[in-house]
Symmetry: C2
Subunit: 215 residues, 2 copies
DNA sequence: ACCTGAACACCGTTCAAGT
DNA sequence: ACCTGAACACCGTTCAAGT
């Protein structure tokens, strides 16, 4: 079982979600396709368990960091750790927190995040919504990122800079009267950093939360 | 072409993303499978064009609403309209804003949102990040929602209330000492409304943005 | 308890050929 | 310019059978 998950994660890491097929996995394990069904009921379950397997390592990273004075700063640090893990493994974004039933580490991570909100002056509903919002920012940014590389970039034929630049050029061709905002931000878009973008989104949410908690 | 997209959207609406196959679509159009390839180069392109097709209607809804005094309130209204559209069509969440090259209505929507930030005291980078954050909240909540129904609920065998209740019961069984946050919010989770959850996340982001803009 | 080969019912995509 | 039938190379999943 352990090796099924390890090899599944290895396939996902090497070439993303489409690379994880029962046939490829079976070949790597040196067995038949049907064997995998002894460990797992379906591909969905395989994905859930593989996801939870790596969330376990994220959770360990998060637990290493000592809790600080400010719960919101702790929330920020935890969200950043989680986001970093998704940057390393873009496939994670799509499956993370999909099924807390099968993903017990995800549930623990959810609890870990939520515990920080217990230190804030909020009611139960506000706490529930706050954690949902933070997870939403992570997943939203991750999804945005995970879908970005359109195979050219994975092949190494085109790097990220050139890929963004191509979009930027197309945008600069647009009529400035009709697309004033696009022209306003095209230089920011060109060569932008996903992590910056994520941090800004997270900080807006956390600023709103701090305001709400009166802290 | 128009009818290809209309029927594709119809299939997606009726039974979600897995229902849209070239064979099912061809049958509906009363033709052969290969015909579709005259209009579209791949399934990805079909999905992008179908998505942009419905984003066009969302855009029309958004343009109907008159601009108000407060740009942030306008941003909220636009985001809510967008979210409502995704509630009606959960499959949208996964493809929305995936490719602004093929999705010209999505680009226009992005511009529409961004134009509100031009009315705020922000620099270009802040504006870029603000719109990304808002789109991120929408997509993040939409993804969370879109993956929720695990077929039982689609079959009508189990309604949403019961589905949530089942999770809530499992959570109530957890050790309160180990999962204090889960116990804090389990009653909120039970029977919660996705729209409430989304609105809260959006409001946190917008509160942060208002603070940043000093408005 | 654990694994297998072979089949089943699907997919997206291609291609030579038709009007 | 538009459409087709038939094939190709895959999928996830099942099942009877093996150790």
């Amino acid at each position: 079982m352990e090796s099924v998950l390890t090899e599944a994660v290895a396939l996902l890491d090497e070439a993303g979600a489409p690379a994880l097929t029962f046939r490829a996995l079976a070949q790597r394990l040196g067995g038949g396709v049907a064997s995998i069904y002894w460990y797992v009921e379906s591909k969905d379950e395989l994905l859930d368990r593989a996801t939870d397997h790596v969330v376990g390592t994220v959770l360990a990273d998060i637990e290493k960091a000592a809790p600080g004075d400010d719960p919101i700063d702790d929330l920020r640090a935890m969200a950043m750790t989680l986001f970093d893990a998704i940057v390393d493994r873009p496939w994670l974004g799509a499956y993370f927190m999909r099924n807390t039933d099968l993903q017990s580490n995800s549930l623990r991570l959810y609890e870990k995040l939520g515990r920080q909100t217990l230190r804030l002056k909020l009611d139960a509903r506000q706490r529930f919504h706050a954690v949902s919002a933070i997870v939403g920012v992570v997943v939203g940014s991750a999804v945005d990122m995970g879908q970005e590389p359109p195979q050219e970039i994975l092949d190494g034929a085109v790097d990220r800079e050139e890929y963004l630049g191509r979009f930027a050029s197309a945008w600069r061709e647009l009529d400035p009267a009709e697309y004033p905002f696009i022209h306003e931000i095209v230089d920011e878009f060109d060569g932008h950093d996903d992590v910056d973008q994520f941090r800004s989104a997270l900080d807006l949410t956390l600023a709103g939360l701090r305001l709400q908690a009166g802290a």
